[in-house]
């Protein structure tokens, strides 16, 4: 294998530290889809809440475990994030931060911030910018991740998202897109790691 090819493989392998997540993306797609279908067909209730909390946490933790344990199996390599990408990520974090802040201001203004019944909702609202900054690295992950956190907030109050509402469609499309994308990234990772190992001393 020539050096140029080896360098390409090294750069591609490093992408699994940030923008590629293989089966982590598939897991996110499945979590997004199941939560949306649970809201649609089961409505608000304990089962929907459990599925929403459980699958959101499973995805966020699972994708990072996969990233660290499986997709760095040949050693750790961090992808280069160019300036434009960093700016985009910062923009999304600030955007979700402003939304959270706005919601908190509304709750403070109408005096509901002290009502314990709203605290689970506010907890997930507060998590939004933190989760965006720490866990959501691509546009599709952002769409599904923010939707899942919004679902955690709304479902914790006994409400439920329904597929008939048009604003859930990007969530549905994002989830459906993540499933095959993750599988394709995973297959590519297996090829990359096999090719990289071929030249190892």
């Amino acid at each position: 294998m020539n050096v140029e090819k080896r360098l390409e493989l090294a750069a591609e392998y490093a992408r699994y530290s940030q923008s590629y997540n293989g089966l982590g993306k598939t897991l996110g797609g499945l979590a997004g889809l199941i939560v949306l279908l649970a809201g649609t067909f089961l409505g608000g209730g304990v089962l929907t809440v459990m599925l929403t909390f459980g699958l959101t946490a499973l995805w966020l933790v699972g994708k990072e475990v996969l990233r660290a344990r499986f997709y760095q199996i040949l050693g750790a390599a961090q992808e280069i994030w160019d300036r434009e990408y960093k700016r985009w990520h910062l923009f999304l974090t600030c955007f979700t931060g402003l939304i959270s802040l706005g919601i908190f201001i509304v709750f403070i203004a109408n005096g509901r911030i002290t009502e314990a019944a709203f605290w689970p909702y506010l907890f997930f609202v507060a998590l939004l910018p933190l989760v965006t900054w720490r866990f959501l690295r691509t546009p599709l992950e952002f769409i599904v991740g923010v939707s899942l956190l919004a679902a955690c907030a709304v479902h914790s109050m006994g409400g439920a998202y329904h597929l008939r509402e048009i604003y859930t469609w990007p969530w549905l499309i994002g989830s459906l897109a993540l499933i095959p994308l993750g599988i394709s990234e995973h297959r590519r990772f297996l090829e990359i790691s096999q090719q990289l190992q071929m030249g190892r001393s």
Binding site: E8, A10, A11, Y13, A14, Q72, G75, A77, Q78, R200
Partner: protein
């Protein structure tokens, strides 16, 4: 005739000016791999370069001495780990090296064409 000789002399000088630290194949491949990532650990560099452990450690130390890479040693839990990152000086040295090699290749090709 004199112009032709001085041209050849400058070409030879140009070839001799090539950065010997970067020119060594093992160091070149380490620098090239690090230029493609933000940072990498020892295990990944071993895999990506195909070097032996001893050779990689030796060449990385030389690159660090030249200021071309940064080596950070730390503990990952209880296990020691090493992280490598190319510096701005290293990136510049690598770019200059590629440019010199391209120029040299071009001048040789021009020379041998009838």
């Amino acid at each position: 005739m004199a112009d032709d000789e001085s041209f050849r002399y400058s070409e030879i000088q140009h070839a001799l000016d090539i950065n010997r630290i970067v020119h060594e194949p093992a160091r070149l491949v380490v620098l090239a791999v690090l230029s493609k990532v933000d940072w990498a650990d020892f295990n990944f560099l071993l895999t990506a370069t195909g070097l032996t452990k001893g050779n990689l450690s030796r060449q990385a130390s030389k690159l660090e001495e030249a200021g071309y890479i940064e080596i950070t040693k730390f503990f990952k839990g209880k296990l020691p780990a090493t992280r490598y990152r190319i510096t701005a000086l290293g990136k510049q040295a690598l770019e200059t090296y590629w440019k010199q090699m391209r120029d040299l290749q071009q001048s040789i090709q021009e020379d041998i064409q009838p």
